[in-house]
């Protein structure tokens, strides 16, 4: 290997070498993946629609476009009122989880970080369990409200992250990213214990709680999309604007500080944005594991290790991945739905191993 990399005329010094950044080719590929997921997600289902007609019908949603797709009124309704919102929600949730995962990995300089690292999962789990068990106990008064569970999940997630932050801050000046991760472990364990206790006392609601814990994209039309969209915009804007700073953070706090960065400030801003996005995703779709860790890593292996590449591509490929996974989740065992969290892990695991193997062969 060193032989081949020795200096020589094969490395003309005059050649223009660009710094790491998002190449147009990858951006186009990401956008293409999103489009494929969109058309496939809307076409496939109990009633299969021709993808060409679906694509035309999607174009019709653009202002000023009027084309004949050959679909009936009822089929058009399936497209715009049932399937499209679900696919769009999948794109938003998957994009948010992958983006948040990538941001956490950069902020903590830890490849194992995922969006649930700071207690989001446990906090949402406990809050939803409280609502569902109390709701069942009091004759469904609470669970009858459609927005109660998402609201509980949202508040629970952010509450858990706030607890983790306060606990980590108790370390004082010697507080480090590792302190925060450990605080997240403690908070998660504490909240999970509370959830287990409640579930054990209210065994009748176990199924309701678990169906939520395993994640699902079954939606009430555009309502969920409207709820998630603002958080999606805020989170992606903040995280994407800081993508170069994450590269600077990769040399550690001390060196980043001597390069003129305020490492703590950047870190907490990114954590806040990523946690907000994760909480919104969790409140809409439950706990969908795996996306936040597998997608950024796949992007890192294939497209490059700079966060200027990882973050925007994670947003696109994460969305496409989840929307496509949802197609499998609702068609594999139709008319039953497989929980999407199960499908992400079943598909994502082998896929990631494949990427790892190919990447290693290409790199060495």
């Amino acid at each position: 290997m060193h032989q081949a990399l020795k200096r020589g005329p094969s490395f003309p010094p005059a050649a223009v070498v660009r710094p790491a950044g998002l190449r147009k080719r990858w951006l186009a590929l990401g956008a293409f993946a999103v489009l494929v997921a969109l058309v496939a997600g809307v076409s496939l289902g109990p009633v299969s629609l021709p993808p060409g007609s679906v694509a035309i019908e999607l174009l019709n949603l653009l202002p000023g476009v009027r084309l004949d797709s050959g679909l009936t009124e009822r089929e058009i309704a399936i497209v715009t009122e049932l399937r499209l919102p679900r696919v769009v929600l999948g794109l938003l949730v998957g994009g948010l989880l992958a983006l948040a995962g990538g941001a956490y990995q950069g902020v903590f300089r830890n490849p194992l970080a995922d969006p649930y690292l700071l207690g989001v999962a446990a906090g949402a789990g406990l809050a939803v369990t409280v609502v569902l068990t109390l709701g069942v106990g009091s004759g469904g008064a609470l669970s009858g409200l459609p927005a109660t569970v998402p609201l509980a999940a949202f508040v629970g997630s952010l509450g858990a992250v706030a607890m983790t932050y306060l606990l980590g801050a108790a370390g004082g000046r010697s507080r480090s990213p590792a302190t925060l991760i450990l605080a997240g472990v403690a908070v998660s364990a504490f909240l999970a214990a509370g959830q287990t206790y409640l579930l054990q006392r209210h065994a009748e609601s176990i199924q309701a709680v678990y169906s939520w814990l395993l994640g699902r994209l079954a939606t009430a039309g555009w309502q969920d999309v409207r709820l998630v969209l603002p958080y999606f915009l805020v989170t992606s804007l903040v995280v994407l604007l800081h993508r170069r700073e994450l590269d600077v953070l990769s040399v550690g706090d001390d060196e980043a500080g001597s390069l003129g960065l305020h490492p703590q400030r950047s870190r907490y801003l990114l954590i806040a944005a990523a946690s907000l996005g994760t909480a919104a995703a969790v409140s809409a779709a439950g706990l969908i594991g795996f996306v936040g860790i597998i997608v950024p890593h796949t992007v890192r292996l294939l497209a490059g290790s700079s966060y200027r590449v990882i973050l925007p591509l994670s947003l696109l490929f994460g969305g496409a991945f989840l929307a496509l996974t949802d197609v499998v989740a609702r068609t594999a065992a139709a008319p039953q739905e497989v929980p999407i969290g199960v499908v992400t892990a079943l598909l994502g695991g082998p896929f990631f191993v494949l990427v790892l193997r190919t990447a290693r062969r290409v790199l060495t």
Binding site: V17, P19, E245, D247, G257, S258, L259, S305
Partner: protein, 279 residues
Amino acid sequence: MIPPPPGQQPGTESVKAGVPPAVEVRDLHVRLDGVPILTGVDLTVAVGEWVTVIGPNGAGKSTLLRAVGGLLPAPDAVRLFGTPLGALRRRERARVVATVAQYPVVPPGMAVLDYVLLGRNPYIPPLGRESAADLAVVDEVLDRLDLTNFRTRELATLSGGERQRVFLARALAQGATLLLLDEPTSALDIGHQQEVLELVDRLRGEHGLTVLATMHDLSIAGEYADRMVLLDTGRVAAAGAPHEVLTETLLSRHYRAHVKVIPTPHGPLVLPTRPRRHP
């Protein structure tokens, strides 16, 4: 502060009238987690000078460098080119002083070009991206350090000597004229130690850099430094030209070492000798 040794005013030849020193530390106290690390350190480094801080393990050398680099709260005790550290914003400070850490973090997967480009961070708007001018500076630095052919190589695959050149390149890309080197040669063999230190000295001459370094190898330290400062338990124990600091008396007192010092035209050679047994 230890009074300057008779016969020579350290660094005076490079101090022009009215030019404030590159580094001026007055009565610096640093406590870390309640433990006093530095207790009243004074230090002056004239513009263009090379000063090396020596001292036994735990004397506070790295802490002194971190304080000068602005990584520790010491707002009034440290002045850089006449400006108190506290008056400089982070990005301004990073354009004045660049640090090469003792063990710089090597981010996995990062190419040499991208790593050196990190040095332009203080010039890139917080949420913006690098300009053509930033890239031109990086290209020039890479060229000057003979690293152009390494641009696309992953930093992690480089040898120790090559990496040290890349670390220096990032510091130079900062455009700072004060260079803080914490044990710049501790990971290198003797040949690469000389290569890196010669390079630093050449750059110092070409670009009017000021160098404040810490080093463990006393003989090599003495060969390159204009002046040396011996630090022990958080205080300056001695300061002056290498032949004034590298003496058997001072070294045996502060390092508890048995050494023989041999004067040479290049500077004193410090040889460790085995203590004689008393039967």
